[in-house]
């Protein structure tokens, strides 16, 4: 059966038609679950996360009318998954791909809970957004796959049709450049 377009699904949300969630689920369930699972590494948690995501989307649209529905959903599920990840992490160490991907950035990140103002958070978000935007397509894809969707290296390599060591090399180069960028912008590391 043909999938409905994103704008048609958004119209269902605006009409407060509960079929909107069913259509979203049919079209994007696999994609959204993959993001949640990569972060949480738990099927049950991911499923709950997905339901939370649908509820958030239901509450957000309207008034929101996202230009990129898929990206919007990805952002919501990622937020949900990260929140859940943080909550779980407080209790135990989570063997998640997110843990692994963040561990790669140890030379940039610290474990110290230093005082960081809300303004610095906004500045960091802007810097990273700006950095990723200026990356070549391939590196942008690797960065987003690894740090946004928390995908395993093997999966990224398979998508790109290259070896894992090639992806690792590209990640090392991205990290180097990110560190340089943050330092040059005077962001405290």
């Amino acid at each position: 059966m043909k999938q409905p377009s994103d704008s048609a699904i958004i119209e269902l949300y605006f009409a407060r038609d509960e079929g909107a969630i069913a259509q979203t689920d049919r079209k994007y369930r696999r994609f959204l679950l993959s993001i949640a699972r990569n972060i949480l590494h738990d099927a049950h948690d991911s499923e709950e996360c997905l339901n939370d995501c649908y509820l958030d989307v239901w509450n957000a649209i309207p008034p929101e009318r996202p230009d990129h529905f898929k990206a919007f959903l990805a952002t919501v599920i990622r937020r949900k998954a990260i929140d859940r990840y943080k909550a779980t992490c407080r209790k135990k160490r989570v063997p998640s791909e997110l843990t692994a991907s963040l561990s790669e950035l140890e030379d940039i990140l610290t474990d110290r809970n230093g005082v960081q103002s809300a303004l610095e958070d906004i500045e960091l978000a802007r810097l990273i957004d700006d950095f990723v935007r200026k990356l070549p397509n391939r590196q942008m894809y690797i960065f987003m796959s690894r740090y946004y969707a928390a995908r395993p290296i093997a999966q990224i390599a398979s998508r790109l049709g290259c070896s894992q060591s090639t992806v690792n090399k590209e990640i090392a180069s991205i990290k180097r450049n990110l560190k340089q960028k943050l330092e040059s912008e005077g962001y405290p590391i």
């Binding site: 994609f31 963040l102 230093g114 960081q116 978000a125 990273i128 942008m140 987003m144 740090y147």
Partner: protein, 315 residues
């Protein structure tokens, strides 16, 4: 900056960037699926090749009828009489030459029949289509299973059956096939009757030659002796339905007909602008000394040798 700060910042990446990532992801996934498909089909093709090889070997081991001397071949010159239409013989569609054999020929003789199935049938020099070869082999298998001696040769399907066998041959959809009385070379077939060129001529510029020995896969001889062996091999290959070798000759300059005078070519076509010519010669008329002279001609750059498969039906 802690891990939390970093992951929160990444979450706030602009939705247009996420969209770019999503669409690139979809594109790569499609490409990956395609790659997997190529891999799958590549593997399938390799298996198919193996199957073709095995099938061909199987067919080649199908023995001809023991009383080989009594095989009836078409001795007509191949003139196609398109106006004469015969009604099917026991359900088989056939041509005018075969009709004579089926109605008046010796009942106990084996008849050499070329079977043309209704399928995409590429030209003799374009046999890289393994799918078609496989289809032809499957057709041959059907006839072999029904009890006929079936041989795929020169990318054509031949069967050897008596009139009685053909009448009762259990083949479905007879409408799909056209039977032609197979033509052999211009002399009667006997074991050892295939002309062999004496391997005693030397002095060829053999590196100019290439032989289409396996339909699209060219081989270049490495010595005079190998060159003549390849010619002989090609003559043997043309045992059925074939009575000529063709030479395509490329040159640096326009060549006149007198250059080819000693080659006894039946037909000679010289293309002025592409500086090449196409010629065919009966096996028995091949003049090795003349061929040697051609290979040593300073303007001639290459000589490609093909089997010229005679047709009993219009092209």
């Amino acid at each position: 900056m802690t891990k939390d700060h970093f992951s929160d910042a990444v979450t706030q990446i602009g939705s247009d960037l996420v969209e770019r990532f999503c669409s690139m992801d979809e594109r790569l996934e499609r490409k990956r699926t395609k790659r997997r498909t190529y891999l799958k089909w590549g593997t399938a093709a390799a298996c198919l090749l193996l199957a073709i090889g095995m099938t061909f070997a199987l067919k080649s081991h199908n023995d001809l009828p023991a009383d080989i001397d009594s095989i009836a071949w078409c001795t007509q010159d191949g003139v196609y009489e398109s106006n004469i239409v015969f009604s099917p013989w026991n359900g088989w569609h056939h041509n005018y030459a075969l009709n004579e054999q089926l109605t008046h020929g010796d009942a106990d003789s084996y008849i050499a029949i070329r079977v043309t199935p209704n399928m995409s049938y590429p030209h003799s020099t374009e046999w890289n289509d393994f799918h078609t070869i496989e289809s032809l082999n499957q057709e041959a298998q059907k006839f072999a299973n029904a009890g006929a001696c079936a041989i795929v040769k020169n990318h054509r399907l031949f069967i050897f059956v008596t009139r009685e066998q053909l009448k009762t041959l259990a083949i479905e959809d007879k409408d799909r096939y056209k039977l032609l009385f197979a033509k052999q070379r211009s002399y009667e077939h006997k074991e050892g009757d295939i002309p062999t060129l004496a391997n005693d001529v030397t002095g060829f510029q053999y590196e100019k030659f290439s032989f289409d020995l396996s339909y699209g896969k060219y081989e270049t001889p490495k010595s005079d002796e190998e060159l003549i062996d390849m010619l002989n091999k090609m003559i043997r290959e043309g045992q059925f339905d074939t009575d000529r070798l063709s030479f395509i000759i490329h040159s640096d300059e326009f060549l006149t007909e007198d250059v080819f005078a000693d080659m006894h070519f039946e037909s000679l076509y010289i293309a002025k602008y592409i500086k090449s010519c196409y010629e065919s010669v009966l096996y028995e008329n091949i003049n090795l000394e003349a061929l040697k002279a051609l290979s040593n001609h300073p303007s001639i750059t290459s000589i490609t040798v093909y089997l010229d498969i005679a047709e009993l039906e219009p092209a």
